[in-house]
Amino acid sequence: MKKMITGSAFLFGDNIDTDQIYPGRYLELVKPDEVAAHCLEGADPSFVKKMTSGDVVVAGRNFGCGSSREHAVITLAHAGVGVLIAESFARIFYRNAINLGLPLLVCPRITGRVKEGDIVEVDLHGGLVKNHTTSEEIQGEKLSDYMLEILQSGGIKPLFKKLTADM
C-alpha cells in the first residue's frame, strides 16, 4: 500500500448503495476484470470510461450501503480506483474494502471541499486529504492500527496465507 495516494476526484452523493456500485444483474460474474467493467455503473454508466488508474472517488454519507456483495469492492479495486473518501461508509463495505486492500478514508467534512476533477492527495497514516487544486487540507479519521496492518499487508489474504502455512 502506498502511503500517499494522488488522483483526480470523481464526486458521488449520499447513500451510494452496492446496487449502484455493482448492479445485481452482474452478480454471477466472478472474474475480477469482468467485474471491473461495471464499476459504479448504476450511479454513472460512463465512470469506467472517464476514470484512469489511481483516481479518487469522493462521496457523501453511507457509501456502500445495502448488500454485502464483495463485487462492490472488487469492481472499484480492479477498475483502478486509488482511494475512496466519504463522510461515512456502510459497515460491511468498509470491512470488505479493508480485507481486499482497497484504501479508504472516513472524512466527515469532505462534502463541498472537493470538486469533480480536483487533484487530491490522501495521506492514509495521517488521515489527511490535501486538495492540490484549492490548496485546502481536510482532516479525516485516522485508520486504526489493526486496519492499517491489514491494508499494509495488501489485505487479509496475505495475512491468512501466513497463518495457513503454519497450520
Binding site: N15, E28, N62, A90, Y94, K157, F160
Partner: protein, 420 residues
Amino acid sequence: MHAIEKILAKAAGKEKVNTGEIVKAKVDFAEVNDIYLQTIYSFYEMGGKEVWDKDKLCFVFDHYAPAPTIRSAQNHKEMRQFARQQGLTNHFDVNAGVCHQVMPEAGHVWPGMILVATDSHTTTHGAFGAFGTGVGATDMATIMISGEIWFRVPEIIKIEINGNLKPGVMAKDVILHILGQLGADVAVYKAIEFCGSYVEELDVAERMVICNMAVEMGAKTAYMVPNHKVLQYIRARSSHIFAVPETDEDFQYAASYLFEVDELLPQVALPHSVENVVPINEVEQVRVDQAFIGACTGGRVEDIEAAVNILRGKKISPNTRLVIIPASNEVFLTANKRGYIKELVDAGATFSTPGCGPCLGAHQGVLAPGEVCVTASNRNFPGRMGSTEAEVYLASPATVAAGALKGVLSDPRSEQEGVK
C-alpha cells in the same frame, strides 16, 4: 454489559468487552449463499484445505434458485461440488428457500449465538436473540478456515416501540416509519436493540421483518429479547441448549429513540431510497405495473395471508401482475395447506418457487425501463429489481396486495375483509 456485548464476550472467551474494542469471536454457525462462489476461491487462495467444522457451515442456494443462466448454474455446480467434497452436514439446494427463513426453520438459530452469513440481511436473526451479521466473501473464507472473525464491539442504540397497530397496519409499516424518521445511516457501525410493549408481544414473523430491515439503517446487528413465542418456535426446531443473555440494568445506550405506533398509517418508501418514507395518504396516484410479495422481508405465511385477506374472491387489475414467492418450502406448503395458493392464483397471482426472486434483480419478475413496482421486499435502490429506469416502492404485503387489486398504489385498510 448489554446482551449483545455478553454474546461477543462469550464468543471471544473474555469476561468483559468494551465499546470500540476489537475482539476475535468464535462463530456458532456460518452460511454462504449462491452469489458467493468467490468465497470458495478465496478459501483455497488463502491456503484453506478443510473447513473448520463441517457441522457449522452450510450453503443455501436462494439468490439464483433455480438457476436462470448458464453462468449461475456453473456457480451452483462448483459450490455443490465443494459442499460434497468437504462433507458439509447441512446443504440447502435450489429446493429450500431464502437463507434467513430456512436457517431458523431448520433449527440453526438460537439465542446468544453468533451467526455470520454472506448476506447483509443476517440482522434478521436478532429476532431470535442471536448476534447475526453479514460479511463479504473474504471474511467468510477466513471463517471457513479458522472458525473465527474479528469484530469491533459496537455502540448500541435503543429503539423503543410502544402501542398496538390498527388493523391493516403491519410490522413492515413500523420499520419503514422508523427508517424514514431516523435515516439510512443512523446505525452505521452500531447495533440496534428493539424493545417496548409492541415488540414484547410480537409474533416471530413480524420480529423478523423489523430486525431484517435494521441493516437498512446501517446496523451491524439487531437484537430483541426473546419472548415466549420465539422460545417456543426455537424449542420446536432445535435441540441446542442455550442461555438467554440479559442486559445489565446499568447499561448505557449510545442513543435512545421512542416510537408510539397506535395511530400509525400504512407507510411507503418512495424511489429510490429506503429512507424516503411517507404515509400512504400522502402518496399521489401511482400506477402499479408489478406487485411483489416475497424475499427475506415479506415472503412468510403471514405476508401471504395478508394478501389473501385483500384478494379473496377478487381479481387483480388487468394492468398489473402480482408475483408471489414464498420464502421457503415450509411457507409454501403451509400456505398451500391453508388454501392460500389457490385463492391467490384464482385472483390472478403468479407464483414462483421459494428463493429471493426479483428482489435483487436476478430473475423471476425483473422490471423493464419505466415500469413501477410496489414490493414487500427490502430495497428500492436504482436498478435493484431490474432496470435502473424502473421505480420501486417499498410497502407492507397488505399495501402490495391492495396495489395489485386496484392497479394503483392504495391504502390496504379500505380493501381488507372486515376492516373499514
